[in-house]
């Protein structure tokens, strides 16, 4: 791979140990994937934040990187393993909490904003069309490539951190025009009117289009909430983190010859495949990916004057929660007994103690991780279905 003089000096350690380690990572990845050079990036999203996943060794490594590592790009952080402020109410072990807080502090020392969200594009990390970025968190990678028209591969935690500390990423894969061409057309004949339906569509695309770049044709006009549900689901179920929505998102003019048709029965089938819950539910989880201000406001309206029978969480980003608090939206949601949690989500917070419980959610991605990783039973439906289940304690 071709390196500039400045990049070579970073690799030689002229800017410190962390930048040197970061360049070693980027050069190795560039060589593996045949990149010609490094491309400058001004926006990075870093994953690898839950102490649950990183352990003591990961924490020590990040603290060693934070000694002299400083970011050279706007950099935000993925969700942590707990609400960083209200972890006691969440029932988190103090030993876990202490290490989780140290982990986030190490990232913050490097200049990374502790946004702790999977939706950086909702809280100020918003690249423009055509911009090269280095993002981890697969749902955000899908949103960046497909909705925003930015360019990023699916980074892991350390490779994204390496990009942040150098302001560069290897130029291969989705950074290149040649890999941003639609390979299969997906004609959607089904109605799409909820986050759950768009999530179900993501599963159908992931399963049937595989890793091919899809061009979606639909009359529907998705909201931001529906687009993030779709992107999260496509990559969860094995699809490419790049797809195009004809007439809506930035797309090249070429048209693939291969075609897939999606009917209402396909979406119903996908929802049924993800649903194995008992009639009586135990837990309701919303906000996967993290809820926007608009979604929180809508939820407050749905819960107005009602009381939840079952434990109900909605996860969001701290900055979104702060705005919603000022507007009285958080108070309105919490009057019902539901809780607004920030900095974390039910995919990364430890849920082992709830094995076998039934969870209701509007997120296809959340449903997949709840049943696989956390061994929960699931009902997947609209936000209204989930609110009704929270209030009555039963699914429909």
């Amino acid at each position: 791979m071709r390196l500039t003089d400045e990049e070579r000096s970073l690799l030689d350690g002229a800017a410190g140990q962390a930048a040197k380690k970061a360049m070693q990572i980027l050069v190795a990845l560039g060589d593996i994937y045949g990149a010609e050079d490094l491309v400058p990036v001004r926006s990075v999203q870093v994953s690898g934040v839950s102490f649950h996943n990183l352990g003591e060794a990961g924490l020590e490594w990040l603290e060693s990187m934070a000694v002299d590592g400083r970011v050279r790009a706007v950099t935000t952080l993925n969700p942590a393993g707990m609400d960083l402020e209200e972890w006691r109410a969440q029932g988190i072990d103090p030993g876990f909490a202490e290490r989780q807080l140290r982990l986030v502090a190490a990232y913050t020392r490097m200049g990374i904003a502790p946004t702790c969200t999977c939706t950086p594009y909702l809280v100020g990390n918003l690249p423009g069309p055509g911009e090269h970025v280095a993002w981890a968190e697969s749902s955000a990678v899908a949103y960046a490539n497909s909705v925003l028209g930015a360019r990023t591969n699916r980074e892991g935690g350390p490779s994204a951190l390496a990009a942040a500390l150098t302001g560069r990423t290897p130029r291969y894969g989705l950074h290149l025009d040649a890999h941003r061409v639609p390979e299969v057309e997906v004609v959607i004949e089904a109605e799409l009117a909820s986050t759950a339906a768009w999530g179900a569509l993501g599963r159908v695309i992931g399963k049937r289009a595989g890793t091919r770049v899809a061009l979606l044709r639909t009359r529907a006009r998705p909201s931001v909430a529906e687009l993030k549900s779709l992107g999260a689901s496509v990559v969860t179920f094995g699809g490419s983190p790049l797809f195009f929505l004809e007439g809506l998102t930035p797309a090249p003019g070429t048209r693939p010859t291969d075609s897939i048709v999606v009917q209402a029965t396909d979406l119903e089938g996908a929802i049924a495949e993800l649903s194995d819950g008992k009639d009586e539910i135990d837990l309701v989880a919303l906000g996967c990916p993290h809820a926007s201000l608009e979604e929180l406001a809508e939820l407050a309206r749905m819960l107005d004057g009602r009381t939840v029978e079952k434990e109900t969480w909605v996860c969001t980003a701290r900055p979104t929660k702060l705005a919603a608090e000022k507007l009285g939206i958080v108070a309105a949601i919490e009057r019902s007994g539901a809780r607004v949690m920030a900095d974390t989500c039910f995919a990364v917070t430890p849920l082992e103690s709830r094995r076998g419980a039934t969870i209701a959610t509007d997120s296809a991605k959340g449903a997949y991780y709840a049943s696989g990783h956390n061994k929960l039973r699931v009902h997947l439906g609209t936000v209204q279905d989930c609110v009704n289940a929270a209030v009555t304690g039963r699914w429909r």
Partner: protein, 132 residues
């Protein structure tokens, strides 16, 4: 002694007895991080311990958290001595670099006999034969 030459992913020198897998390895979920034993059901190396071995395998698979899993193994002295691969991927490459484990890829794996003593030095993989 036979010498195979591959591509350096992380440069270093280490020796150990070859533990050869025909299947990809998922370091996060596939291994018990306390013991270094492969726990993935039905994996060709199920029940084997990677500690101190030269781990020979086609490529990594599974979650990108696998990079940190390799680091956790190494910091508790439970990690492999070196990694010899057919085709390295992001998760294992990053794991080798942050853990400082010697790692080489583009090696023709059938040339390596399980149980052979191996020294990895830079891009070279030296096979010393079983028991020598």
């Amino acid at each position: 002694m036979t010498t195979l030459t591959g591509r350096i992913i992380h440069a270093g020198e280490a020796s150990g007895v070859a533990l050869v897998s025909t299947a990809p390895i998922s370091f996060f979920g596939g291994l018990d991080l306390e013991t270094g034993v492969v726990v993935e059901k039905g994996h060709p190396l199920e029940g084997e311990c990677v500690t101190g071995r030269v781990l020979v395998f086609p490529r990594g698979t599974g979650s990108t958290v696998g990079s940190f899993a390799l680091l956790r193994l190494t910091r508790t002295q439970r990690g492999p001595a070196a990694l010899v691969m057919e085709s390295c991927d992001t998760t294992v490459a990053v794991g080798a670099i942050i853990s400082e484990i010697p790692c080489v890829d583009r090696i023709h794996l059938p040339a390596i006999t399980p149980g052979a003593r191996i020294t990895v030095r830079g891009a070279e993989v030296h096979l010393e034969g079983i028991g020598s």
